[in-house]
């Protein structure tokens, strides 16, 4: 039963991550695109957690949600906010 719930949660997280990846690719506002990308990272972290890989989760959370969006946002600040 628990296996089934974990598998279902993983499926939901995976599908959500696909949607957010697509949104990050088509979004013209780059700041919003970074936020979508961070949401996708969070979904991946959840999948890794459910696959019982806590070591990867601990890398993925600070890098995927903290450092990577910060670096990209800093770079966006130096250029245009909207992609034309």
């Amino acid at each position: 039963m628990i296996d089934l719930i974990a598998a279902l949660l993983m499926a939901v997280a995976a599908v959500t991550s696909i949607v957010f990846t697509y949104l990050a690719v088509v979004e013209k506002n780059l700041v919003q695109a970074v936020v979508f990308s961070a949401v996708q990272s969070t979904m991946y972290a959840l999948i890794y957690f459910l696959l019982m890989a806590p070591d990867i989760v601990l890398v993925y959370l600070p890098v995927g949600v903290g450092i990577y969006p910060a670096i990209v946002l800093l770079l966006i600040k130096k250029t245009d906010k909207v992609d034309e």
């Binding site: 696909i18 949104l23 070591d55 450092i67």
Partner: protein
């Protein structure tokens, strides 16, 4: 959002679902049976913490750290070296750029600053805890170091690059920390080899516990708690290297246009 966007998103999701269904039915290739554990995995699980067969064991209860820093230590060393090179190249791009105090507005409001001041020590503590339990529970040097670097990001965004520079978090200091970490890892890797050469006993690179043909070993217990031998040192130095390296990358990226342009034009060179 347009209708076409929705249609495209829905069709991508449908493709992914159909592909996973085909995979589930075995249409792409045989699916490994879940209950069966591969011999390699079984060996690692049985030997990671095994006081009876010390010559094959890392004497650390956490399998991932044992594999990363003991069984596959050389791989991890070169991974760390690659990351070091990447950060060196980022620093080289902005060589000679100096933080000029008083360029920015001085960060966010007092409320945000106070909250950050409360949160930052907690994040650093969590990072240290992840590092210092790396050989007992999930976590390790990279994880802890990345968590500590998040505190730098937070400080950089809520305060400003000026405040960090005033408190001594500068490029040169971080680069020195980064190098110390990498040299520490390299020294830990050859420590037993040097001792072995000095006293005339066999030893290996990246040796942790006693191995076949070599009686040397790092201390595996500290007051009754397993330390994983060399894993303790690797995790500590890796946390040093990663936290300093990622902080450095963030600080270099957030240098302001004026500071970089001044250096490029040849004005105000150090």
């Amino acid at each position: 959002m347009k209708v076409t966007d929705l249609v495209v998103a829905a069709s991508i999701v449908a493709l992914a679902l159909l592909l996973s269904y085909a995979m589930f039915l075995g249409g792409i290739g045989p699916v490994p049976v879940r209950s069966e554990l591969r011999t390699l995995a079984l060996n690692y699980i049985l030997l990671t913490y095994n006081p009876v067969k010390v010559v094959y064991s890392a004497l650390a209860p956490e399998g991932v750290t044992a594999i990363v820093w003991d069984y596959r230590g050389l791989d991890t060393y070169f991974e760390t070296a690659v990351m070091f090179l990447a950060i060196i190249s980022v620093v080289a791009l902005t060589h000679g750029c100096k933080v000029r105090i008083g360029l920015g507005k001085g960060g966010m409001s007092l409320i945000v600053k106070t909250t950050t001041r409360v949160l930052m020590p907690l994040i650093v503590l969590a990072g240290i805890s992840i590092t210092m339990h790396g050989w007992l529970t999930p976590g390790g040097g990279f994880q802890g170091g990345a968590t500590i670097a998040v505190a730098t990001v937070l400080a950089l965004v809520t305060y400003s690059i000026d405040t960090l520079a005033k408190h001594g978090i500068r490029k040169r200091v971080l680069l020195a920390m980064r190098s110390t970490g990498l040299i520490g890892i390299a020294l830990t890797a050859v420590a037993l080899l040097i001792i072995g050469l000095a006293i005339g006993v066999n030893a290996y690179i990246f040796q942790n516990q006693k191995r076949i043909g070599s009686p040397l070993a790092f201390p595996a217990y500290f007051s009754g708690t397993p330390t994983g031998g060399s894993l303790l040192f690797y995790n500590l130095f890796e946390a040093f290297a990663v936290s300093a390296g990622l902080s450095l990358a963030i600080i270099v990226t957030s240098l302001r246009e004026k500071e970089v342009k001044e250096t490029l034009r040849g004005e105000g060179v150090e």
